[in-house]
Symmetry: C2
Subunit: 138 residues, 2 copies
DNA sequence: AGGAAACAGGATAAAATTTGTCCGATATGA
DNA sequence: TCATATCGGACAAATTTTATCCTGTTTCCT
């Protein structure tokens, strides 16, 4: 559930890609401009690529560019592409074995926190977050 | 931010302690009844003890008992006693070094998720969660 | 007094996760 | 062909999670 460096880096990279919209940037440029470890970022971009969020262009003058409109990329999309399903408590995951699940009164609380957090992350698109000065109220 | 086994176990133990209210139970009993690893649970109870949530009675026929009324013990109290401050993204922690903090539009989103989750956890007391059928009373 | 039951606190450690690096293979533009 | 890139897999350090064990101390009971 916690947002790791991986996801944080993914967000920063995608934010940068959304600035020069449609532009293709190599990992080196993204890494330098956002001060992120290069080879780690490379791995992260592969995940985003597989998730259909960015697109890779191989070969000389290649790099990465957004595949979707920034307004259609939410924080949740990035979280999920990088970290997978958002889970508050392993015990409350659907399909997990937990002998107490039926009578557990705490379970629903974790589920609610989960839903609220996901909802909040879905609310914010890269488009609404980019541009430094965007006074997004929520 | 994720709820670890430690916190999950703490909640189960405190729930059991709240059933026999005021009763003192040794770690062995708590461990057996809730099927939790004994020595691990012992460590967790020490944390709860230091946080003033439970009280330890040493010596033969000793054990642990609640120090506060179950209606005054929230999930958040337990989370904090065991895992410390609730944090969604390390980058967004107060007082942390992050060069981009000032102009970062994502920061407020993590903070909001944090506030909402903490609020939700504070809303539920052990009293309101115990008794399987969630009959509210205090 | 002595023994058994129980917690306190520190040391230790296995397993899992996070946070990366590196390299050989492949693709592509000039 | 050569320089520039990504791809995918292997590897690895650091940290966190999930425990266990041991020695010491307290307290009840006989
Ligand atoms: S869901 Fe497993 S104990 Fe609550
Ligand atoms: S708070 Fe550090 S980059 Fe957003």
């Amino acid at each position: 559930m916690k947002v790791t460096r991986e996801t944080d880096y993914a967000i920063r990279a995608v934010l940068l890609l959304s600035e020069d919209r449609g532009k293709t940037l190599p990992v080196s440029a993204l890494s330098e401009k956002m001060d992120l470890p290069r080879s780690f970022l490379a791995k992260i971009l592969q995940k985003l690529s597989r998730a259909g969020i960015v697109e890779s262009i191989r070969g000389a003058s290649g790099g990465y560019r957004l595949k979707r409109n920034p307004s259609r990329i939410s924080l949740y999309d990035l979280y999920k592409a990088v970290q997978g399903e958002f889970v508050v408590n392993e015990c409350a995951v659907e399909g997990r074995v937990c002998s107490r699940k039926e009578r557990c009164a705490v379970h629903p609380v974790w589920k609610k926190i989960e839903r609220e957090a996901v909802r909040e992350m879905k609310k914010h698109s890269i488009a609404s977050l980019s541009g430094e000065k965007s006074s997004q109220r929520s």
